[in-house]
Symmetry: C2
Amino acid sequence: MNIEMIRAAAARLEGHARRTPLLSSPFLDEIAGKPVFVKPECLQHTGSFKFRGGWSALTALAPETRESGVIAFSSGNHAQGVAYAAKLHGVPAVIVMPSDAPKLKIANTRALGAEVVLYERGSQDRDAIGAKLARERGLTLIKPYDEPQVIAGQGTAGLEIAADARAQGIEQADVFVCCGGGGLTSGIALALEADAPGYSVRPCEPEGFDDVARSLKSGKIETNAKLSGSLCDAIITPAPGEMTFPIMLRLCGEAVIVTEEEALKAAALAFQRLKIVVEPGGAVGLAAALFHADKSDAPNLIAVCTGGNVDADVFAQTLATL
Amino acid sequence: MNIEMIRAAAARLEGHARRTPLLSSPFLDEIAGKPVFVKPECLQHTGSFKFRGGWSALTALAPETRESGVIAFSSGNHAQGVAYAAKLHGVPAVIVMPSDAPKLKIANTRALGAEVVLYERGSQDRDAIGAKLARERGLTLIKPYDEPQVIAGQGTAGLEIAADARAQGIEQADVFVCCGGGGLTSGIALALEADAPGYSVRPCEPEGFDDVARSLKSGKIETNAKLSGSLCDAIITPAPGEMTFPIMLRLCGEAVIVTEEEALKAAALAFQRLKIVVEPGGAVGLAAALFHADKSDAPNLIAVCTGGNVDADVFAQTLATL
C-alpha cells in the first residue's frame, strides 16, 4: 500500500468519480474559532466516498476477471458504491444484504443494477452464502476497507484535499475524518503524507463506538462492545482493519470522539450553512471540528463529510436540533 | 452587455467564487426519461448564485468608489451575496430591509458584516431611504438584476455549465433556469450563445408568477398580478428587467411553468438523490426538467438549482412530499 497506488487510482477515477469541492462558511469558522473547510463526499456518486473505492477496485481488476462480476456485503454505502461502479462498467454485481435491511436501500441497490441476495441474519451464514456465490459464478469479492485498491480509491479524496487546500495557501491543518474500518482514513493519511506533510489526520468516532481511538492508544486492534444502537450506523464497524490500522497508527493524530447529539447538530449546521445533506455518521468529522476544535493545535481544520444517505425522518430529527 | 464582460467577470471571480460542479443521478435521469445534469448554485458562497453578481459588481467599481461602500435592497439572496462580497473586500455594505423580514435573515445579514437599515413597509419609502443614505455616505447602489456587471457575474455560471457539460460530450441541451428578474437567465443565455451554441435556455417560473413566460409570448414586458403568497419567494419579482428582457427575448426558448408542489417535490428529490439543500424557488428549474421534460426536444437537460436558503420548517414540508 503506497502513494503510487493512490495516484494510479486517481488517474483511473478521473472523469468518472466526481471531484468534490472544498466548502466553507464564515458562520462555521466562528463556531470553531478558526477556519473550517469541508470536503463534501456526500456529493460523490451514490452519496458517499465509497464510490471511489468501488471504482478503483473494479478498474484494477483484469478485464476478464471484472467481466465475471463482483460481489459485496453490506446494506450500506459500500454496497451502493460497488453496485454503481459495476453498472457503469456493464458487469454483474451481487450484493448480499440482510433480509431486514430497509426496503428503500434494497430497492435502491437493485435500481443501481445489482442483484440483491437476501439472507436471514439470525439463521444464515453471510460469508458462506457469499463464498458459494463467488465460487459458482466466478465473482470477485470487493471488501469494504481491508483491500489495497479500495484504500487507494478512498485516498484520492486526500489528494484533492491537499491540492485544493494548499491552493488556498493552507500549509498546516488537522483533517477530521469519520472513521469506521479505516479505509478512507488510512487512504487520506497516505495521500497527505505525500502531498501535504503539514496536515495531520484525526480519526473521528461516535461515543460508545471508539474502537479506533482505543486502538491508537493501546497500539493494537481493539473492538467495539456493540455494533448497533447508533444513528451513526454508516461508520460502525467491529474494529479497525488489519491493513488500515498500521497505516493509521503510523500517520494519524489522536482520535476525537463526539456525541450523537453533536453529530446531529453538525449535520444541521451543514444543512443551514453549506446546503449539503449529511447523514449522522457522515457528520462526525464536522462535529469534531466544530465542537472539539480545542483538541487541535492546528491553525486550520478540514472535515470530511463522508456521506449523505439519510432517510427523511432522520433528517427531520437532525433539523430539529437547530 | 456582451460576452467579453462575462469573461472579464469570470477572471475577477476566479479563486473567490466557488466553482460549483455538475451533479447527476441515474434516478433523476429515469424520472425525466433522459439525462439530467444539475448545477448546484446552492453550494455557492452565501447559498445562492447571487454572490457571483455581488462580487462581479464590487470588483468592477473603481477602488475609491468601492471603498466608500455599497448599498442594496432586499431581505433575500441578493442582500447576502452583496454583504459577503463587501465583507471580503473590507468595505461597508448597507442593506435596506423591511422591518418584518425574518429575524434570522436580518441576523445573518448582520453576521455577514453588513449594516442593516430597517424600514416600515407600509409607511416608509424604501427607495427614498436608500437614495438619502447613498447620497450622504457616498454608497453605490448594487441593483439585483438590471445592472450589467451583475448580469456578467451571474453569466459566469453559464461559462462553467458550457465547459463542464461539453467536457462530458454534450453538444445539445436545454438549460432550465429559475427566473425572477432575469439576471441569471440572461447572463447564462449570453454565455451559452458564445460557448455552447447547441444549448438553449428555458426560463422557469412558478404558477401564478409567470411574468417572463407571458412577456416572451407577447414580446413586451408583462407584470405579475401579485408578489406574495408563494413558497418560491426567492424568484418572485414584479416583471423581467428592462436590461435582461431583450436578452431573454433574443436568446431564450419558451418558458416552463411549474406548480409549487412540483417545486417542493423536485427539492425533495434533490435531497434524496443529490444530497443538496434547495429552496423551493431554487428548485423550479429542476422541477421543470424532471416533470416537464416533454416540453423539450433536447436530448439532455441541465437544471440550475439557484439557491438553498430555506428554513428548517419549510424544508421539513419539502421532505414530506417524498
